[in-house]
Homo-oligomer: 148 residues x 2
Amino acid sequence: MHRVIIPDIIEEHAVLTLKRTDSAFDAANMMKESNIAAVLVTDDDSKLEGIVTERDLTRRVVADGMDPKKTPLEDIMTADPAILDPTDSAGDALEIMRKRSFRHLPVSRDGKVLGMVSIRDLYAAVKADLEADIKETEAFVFGDRYSA
Amino acid sequence: MHRVIIPDIIEEHAVLTLKRTDSAFDAANMMKESNIAAVLVTDDDSKLEGIVTERDLTRRVVADGMDPKKTPLEDIMTADPAILDPTDSAGDALEIMRKRSFRHLPVSRDGKVLGMVSIRDLYAAVKADLEADIKETEAFVFGDRYSA
C-alpha cells in the first residue's frame, strides 16, 4: 500500500529539458513533438530551475499577448518548483498537488532530475491501491487465502 | 455504484462559451480569468460546435507560430467533439476519455450544453466509489450493519 514515486509510480527516465533563455515557442514545440504537457528548465549543470506547462503558455503567453518567440522561459516558468524525492509516497505527492494546484511534479535527488510525475499517474496508482484493498478484504471474507 | 454524469459527478451549470469567429487570444483570456482549462464553441442557437483546450492553444497556436489574435477558434477547435448525455455513467465517460485521449467532455442534451466534465471530476468519483466499496465490504465483515 505504501507506493514510492520511483519505481512504483514511474520509472526513472530521461526528462526533456530546456534552458531559461529558450523561448515559449521552443517549449510549445517540445510539448507538441513529445506529446507532453510540461517541460523542465535546467541550468548548465542540469540543476532544476523551473517548470513550464501548457497552462503557463495559455495564461502567461497567449492571454497576455506576449510573442512566444521573444518570451524566454524564465519569464513564464514557475521557478524553484516543488519537487519530489524518489522515495516519497504517492499519497505525499497527491497531497502536494492538491494543496498547491499542481498537475506535474519533478522528481529529483541531489539536484539531478530523475523524472516527472503527473496527477494522472498518481490517480491511476491510488485507484489500483484501492482495488487491491477491495480484493484483499474480499479474499478475507470469502477465504481465498486459505483455499477454502 | 452507478453514478450518472448529472447530478452525481457534476451539477448542471452555466458553461462559458465562445463563437467560432472569436480568437485564440479570447479563449486564453477566458481560461485565465475563469481558471478553466477548456472552453466550448457554440453557434448562434447555442448549439455545440467544438471545444478548445490549453493543449490546442499550446500545439495549434504557439507551437505552430500562429498569431493568437488573428487565429479564429474554428481553425484550432476540435469540431463536433464527443459529448456525454447527463444520464451516461462515470464509467462510460472515463472509457471515452481513455480511448480518445480527451481530458474534458461537454455534457449536452437536445443540443443544449448542460456542463463540462473533466477527467479529474471522474477520477474523484471513481475513487469515492471504490472507497465506498471498501467500507461496505468491511461493514459486512465486521457486522456494522447488524449493530454487532
